[in-house]
């Protein structure tokens, strides 16, 4: 019994295979199970075995040709069996392969897009581009299948056509809703119209409006510097709680003479401590780290429409009174826009205090090229367990952000720990 042998399907995704080699020549005998030909797919190479015993009467596909699966590649039959019937049903090999190729080239892919160039007139392409119409999938009606203006106009019309259920249409008329305003990929139903109506109602009340204002120069600089810092520095954030009992007492005592603020005290103590932790007071410059034996302390000052960081130069050697005076002076002149460029440059560390606004913890962004910034938070009376007793103590959290390029976690942690100690025992540091 004559039999056509086909290109087998060797895997779920296999669509075609290359007939790499024939093991048997035309006219030779073949036993069932003999290796007949080898197949290469994009994944594997495999041998096809004869499924029948007989003579390989006709090779339909020569070696080296790519064949779609289930396509006949040869005929096995008895020696003198008439196979003309089978042959007539099979197109000549060359044509078969060629037409398959052509088909592939011009075939429409599953997503409806054609491969390669699409013939489209300039004016049609321009309109399609302007209106965002994907012309790849449009069948052209012009000469030679060219997509012409009319085709794009029709596609536009089709796009703007609204599909809606009869109830939805009726409802839309009753509720005065324009169906074209409802954005949906499927048919518009009654509920879509009701939802749209509700949205329209609220929109009518809220009168939503976007307003655009030009950025001020300061805003632009802040945006630029903060983005730069955020992009360039891998940051680590640390939080520690500080018992402010003693510092609070100290301040209350000082207040009788001078209005010393918590910021003043923290600036003074931090400045002294920074000398012992030079990496937190350092800057990265190319492949070098700049270490300092002085501290220029930046103080973040909020403005109505921005933020400035004036600098208390050499804060490590200034007295508390001098620091306090200078911070007040700098803050005032920041607010009345009278700072010189000198006074806002060369900072080595920054302190930013949001405590007066009740903030308990935050993650400030480093003022580059500095290596760290200290966020100061609100002092809050908090129940604390001490020696098995619950006490109420004024607790303040410190939020440190450090640039991990220069400051490792442990280095920052030790600094914070020491700072906590110093603030909890202020006289030790101040004297």
């Amino acid at each position: 019994m004559a039999k056509k042998i086909v290109m087998p399907k060797l895997g779920l995704t296999m669509k075609e295979g290359k007939l790499a080699k024939w093991y048997i020549n035309e006219g030779e005998h073949v036993n069932k199970g003999d290796k007949l030909f080898s197949i290469e797919t994009d994944k594997i190479t495999n041998d096809a075995e004869a499924t029948d015993t007989g003579i390989l009467r006709k090779i339909l596909i020569g070696a080296g040709k790519v064949v779609p699966i289930m396509e006949p590649v040869c005929i096995i039959a008895a020696e003198n069996e008439d196979i003309s019937d089978l042959l007539t049903n099979i197109p000549i090999e060359e044509e078969k392969v060629e037409s398959q190729r052509v088909l592939e080239k011009e075939n429409i892919k599953t997503d409806g897009k054609r491969d390669g160039k699409v013939k489209i007139s300039p004016v049609a392409r321009k309109l399609a581009d302007e209106e965002g119409i994907d012309y790849q999938s449009i069948m052209g009606s012009g000469p030679g299948g060219r997509i012409v203006l009319e085709d794009i106009q029709k596609a536009l019309e089709e796009k703007s056509k609204v599909k809606a259920s009869p109830t939805a249409v009726k409802m839309a008329a009753e509720l005065d809703v324009n169906l074209a305003d409802i954005k949906t990929d499927r048919r518009i139903m009654k509920n879509d119209v009701i939802r749209a109506k509700r949205e329209l109602y609220y929109e009518g009340i809220s009168q939503s409006e976007d307003k655009r204002i030009a950025m001020t120069t300061m805003r632009k600089i802040i945006a630029e510097r903060m983005s730069y810092s955020s992009n360039i520095a891998p940051t680590v954030n640390f939080t520690i709680s500080v018992d402010m009992t003693k510092l609070k007492e100290l301040r209350e005592e000082m207040k009788i003479d001078k209005n010393i603020t918590y910021t003043d005290l923290i600036v003074k103590i931090t400045s002294l401590l920074l000398l012992e932790h030079p990496l937190l007071n350092s800057s990265l410059d190319g492949e070098e780290i700049i270490l300092r034996n002085y501290v220029n302390m930046g103080i973040a000052v909020a403005l109505e429409d921005g933020l400035m960081v004036p600098v208390v130069k050499n804060a490590h050697i200034k007295t508390l009174g001098e620091i306090s005076y200078e911070i007040k002076d700098l803050s005032y002149r920041t607010k009345v826009n009278q700072l010189t460029t000198d006074e806002i440059s060369e900072g080595t560390f920054t302190i930013t205090n949001l405590g007066m606004l009740g903030i308990e913890s935050f993650t400030p962004i480093i003022n580059q090229p500095e290596s760290a910034i200290l966020g100061v938070n609100a002092i809050i009376d908090t129940p604390v367990v001490e020696n098995g007793t619950i006490l109420v103590k004024p607790i303040m959290k410190l939020s440190l952000t450090a640039d991990h390029r220069t400051v490792d976690g442990a280095v920052a942690a030790i600094f914070l720990q020491k700072l906590k100690e110093a603030l909890e025992n202020p006289l030790r540091k101040l004297l």
């Binding site: 007139s121 300039p122 004016v123 049609a124 321009k126 012009g142 000469p143 060219r146 012409v148 203006l149």
Partner: protein
């Protein structure tokens, strides 16, 4: 108002200018007592005399050269060549002298001369007396090229050509000498560089010159019966060239075909197509078509000659191919 054929319009325009200005003169082969090969100057010898209407030897080099010399020294010559085909003999005077002088003298010279040249096929005058060589002259900077298709345009444009201070080539299609219409003899000269929309339409633009304007109009009538409204535009002057009217039309119709009687290869039709391709690309909904004569010499046989030149039917079927 007076009904005039194009031939009469050309004669009237020349005579009008000669009456107004004694510096305007006419010369060429047999333009004198004989009245010109086609009879354009009939009667002018009698009116203006042998001084101002002169016969020349059979030498186009001499004719054009004389015009250059006369114009350079203060006259306003009108030279007639019997056929555009013979301009080849006068080409040196035209291209290397007439066209260059104003430029080479730094604009300090006026060269107010008109060279009239009958052109076109259709009278079985064979290969050497039937060509359409407008592209040859339109190619040369320094020459203005006028190609009217109606009697009125011929009248108005020739008045302008004679007034112009530069060399003007004035092309006259032999088969159009007979087309006539009413002309106001006191009409203003027609400015160069202004195309004329001979028929308004919305679906396709036909740019045509010379006799092809009339064939395009006939084709437009047939197309209209099939629902295609063609706009027929005659540029009237090939230099200066009115791009704007054509581009505006294409913005409306999105399709354009250029019909001329030239050999297609290297034709001025190609120049027009290139301009449209460069400046009107975004408005095109179909390839720009050129419908021209075949790339062979003009045949003598009337049947072949008819086949050689684009016909009304050719225009109709070419336009239909764009839809």
């Amino acid at each position: 108002m007076k009904t005039m054929s194009m031939m009469e319009a050309i004669r009237e325009a020349m005579s009008k200018k000669m009456r107004e200005d004694e510096n305007v003169i006419l010369f060429g082969e047999d333009v004198g007592a004989f009245g010109g090969c086609f009879g354009v100057s009939a009667g002018m010898f009698d009116e203006f005399g042998p001084e101002r209407v002169r016969d020349t030897p059979i030498s186009e080099g001499v004719i054009v050269g004389t015009a250059v010399g006369a114009a350079a020294t203060g006259l306003r010559p009108i030279a007639e060549l019997m056929f555009v085909d013979f301009v080849t003999v006068g080409m040196d005077q035209l291209v290397n002298q007439a066209a260059k002088m104003r430029y080479m003298f730094g604009g300090k010279i006026n060269l107010p001369m008109v060279v009239r040249m009958p052109l076109g096929a259709g009278i079985s005058a064979a290969a050497q007396h039937s060509q359409s060589l407008e592209a040859w002259v339109a190619h040369v900077p320094g020459l203005k090229v006028v190609y009217p298709s109606t009697a009125k345009d011929a009248y108005g444009l020739l008045l302008k050509a004679i007034e112009d201070e530069n060399p003007v080539i004035f092309l006259e299609h032999k088969l159009l000498y007979g087309v006539s219409e009413e002309i106001d003899e006191n009409m203003k000269p027609i400015e160069f560089g202004v195309a004329d929309i001979k028929r308004a339409g919305s679906d396709v633009t036909i740019v045509a010159t010379g006799k092809m304007v009339h064939d395009s109009l006939a084709a437009a009538k047939i197309l209209s019966e099939g629902g295609i409204e063609a706009e027929v535009i005659d540029p009237r002057t090939l230099f200066p060239f009115d791009k704007k009217t054509i581009l505006n039309s294409i913005e409306k119709t999105n399709k354009v075909i250029i019909v001329t009687e030239e050999n297609k290869r290297g034709s001025f039709a190609g120049e027009i197509a290139a301009i449209i391709g460069e400046e009107g690309f975004d408005h095109l909904d179909a390839p720009i078509l050129r419908l021209c004569a075949m790339d062979t010499p003009v045949p003598f046989s009337p049947i072949l000659e008819k086949y050689y030149v684009p016909s009304v039917e050719d225009i109709v079927s070419a336009v239909k191919r764009m839809f």
